[in-house]
């Protein structure tokens, strides 16, 4: 039998050689724990992320917008499932994952604790929130844990329409009436900074970053991804004729990147702690959906058992 240290060396060598770690492989307990935390958080974010957009399905301005939004929200449900399914390969049950979300023990992306108050928010969410999420997800296609990487490949394939449909909404609004343009600008003003916060704290202050990089769970740092996102998004906002709400935003010839202002980290940590505008509403909605669905789950199981008995008889 190998000792722990030897096993860990073999594990790290596999990771360093870009070999994927698979469910039945030996892995350090912390690697497993870290992954369960990250994958389940990611899955919960997809599930809770359905709520701010579900809010607009009945009020979408046209049938086309409505079908698109429905398809997008349905995708998020699927993405939640892919991720839960990946987390379960690490030995945690679906009931436990669910419990952690519903009791508030597990976190989900703080961005979904902001309200979607106008139709333009559907544009900004697709363009910025999905845009930021995609940056992270593209990186995670190369994560070291096989099932997580495979789930991410699937998600990335589906996700790019989400960002495009959001940008399309922004394009129509920003080329529309003065009122529509103001709506688009207002949405950008409200969603810009929370979107930048999605990349997480600066690497220097991120508790899991260094270890996650060594294990190749993460492949790029929070700050690096955030900077790429900013660099790409500025040009897209210029096309729309909208102004990014950051007076310090300026192209830097030397670094070939945009310089930009300062994230309000007090707000970030406050929302994580549960004091965002919608934390309570989101959790209550999930708890209610789960409780309301209990009879369906029980009935389906009872039916399946009855059918199985009939077949056996």
């Amino acid at each position: 039998m190998m000792d722990e240290k030897q096993a860990e060396e073999i594990f790290q060598a596999k990771v360093d050689a870009e070999q994927k770690i698979e469910p039945k492989d030996w892995m350090p307990a912390e690697y497993r724990k870290n992954l369960i935390r990250q994958i389940s958080q990611h899955g919960h974010s997809e599930i809770v992320g359905m709520l701010p957009e579900g809010n607009w399905i009945t009020r979408a301005p046209s049938l086309r917008r409505k079908t698109v939004l429905l398809a997008k929200v349905q995708d998020e449900a699927g993405h939640g499932l892919y991720l839960y399914s990946a987390a379960e390969t690490l030995g945690i049950g679906r009931d436990e994952l669910n419990d952690q979300l519903l009791t508030g023990k597990a976190k989900y992306s703080s961005i979904f604790n902001y309200p979607t108050i106008s139709w333009a928010d559907m544009g900004a969410v697709g363009w910025l929130v999905d845009g930021a999420a995609i940056m992270n997800q593209v990186m995670l296609c190369r994560t070291s844990y096989g099932p997580y990487a495979r789930a991410m490949v699937r998600i990335c394939k589906e996700e790019s329409f989400h960002q495009r449909q959001g940008y399309e909404i922004m394009t129509v609004l920003s080329k529309g009436t003065a009122e529509q343009k103001a709506m688009a600008q207002d949405a950008l003003d409200r969603w810009w900074w929370p979107s930048l916060m999605m990349f997480g704290p600066s690497d220097a202050n991120s508790p899991h970053s260094a270890q996650s990089m060594k294990w190749k769970i993460k492949r790029q740092g929070n700050d690096e991804l955030r900077q790429i996102f900013i660099d790409r998004t500025v040009q897209q906002s210029e096309y729309l004729g909208l102004k990014i709400p950051d007076p310090k935003l300026k192209w830097n010839e030397d670094t070939q990147h945009y310089d930009w202002g300062e994230i309000d980290w007090t707000e970030f940590f406050d929302v994580i702690k549960g004091n965002g505008p919608c934390n309570k509403e989101r959790l209550t909605a999930r708890q209610k959906a789960h409780a309301d669905g209990a009879w369906v789950r029980e009935a389906a199981l009872a039916y399946a058992e009855k059918q199985a008995k009939k077949k056996a008889a």
């Binding site: 679906r94 789950r297 389906a300 059918q307």
Partner: protein, 96 residues
Amino acid sequence: MSNEKDWPLWEIFIQSKRGLDHKHVGSLHAADARMAIENARDVYTRRNEGNSIWAVLAENVHSSKPEDQGAFFDPADDKVYRHPTFYPMPEGVKYI
């Protein structure tokens, strides 16, 4: 923790086109096989990725052990003669 009984876990395999293999795509929970197949359609084939679906109860999948991987697969390691490239062919000989 709820006392609710979890639906069993199913492993899902999708054949994307006639003539190709069924490939593992992930898993889901469902009360019975029919529900597993219908839910698999909704989550794994939303963009015409599927032509046929297999659902297998996860508890019925048996697997080789990764810790025995080396010894388990090594009978194939020293048998290069099982590959066509092992046999040099005289120059100029065709269709072989």
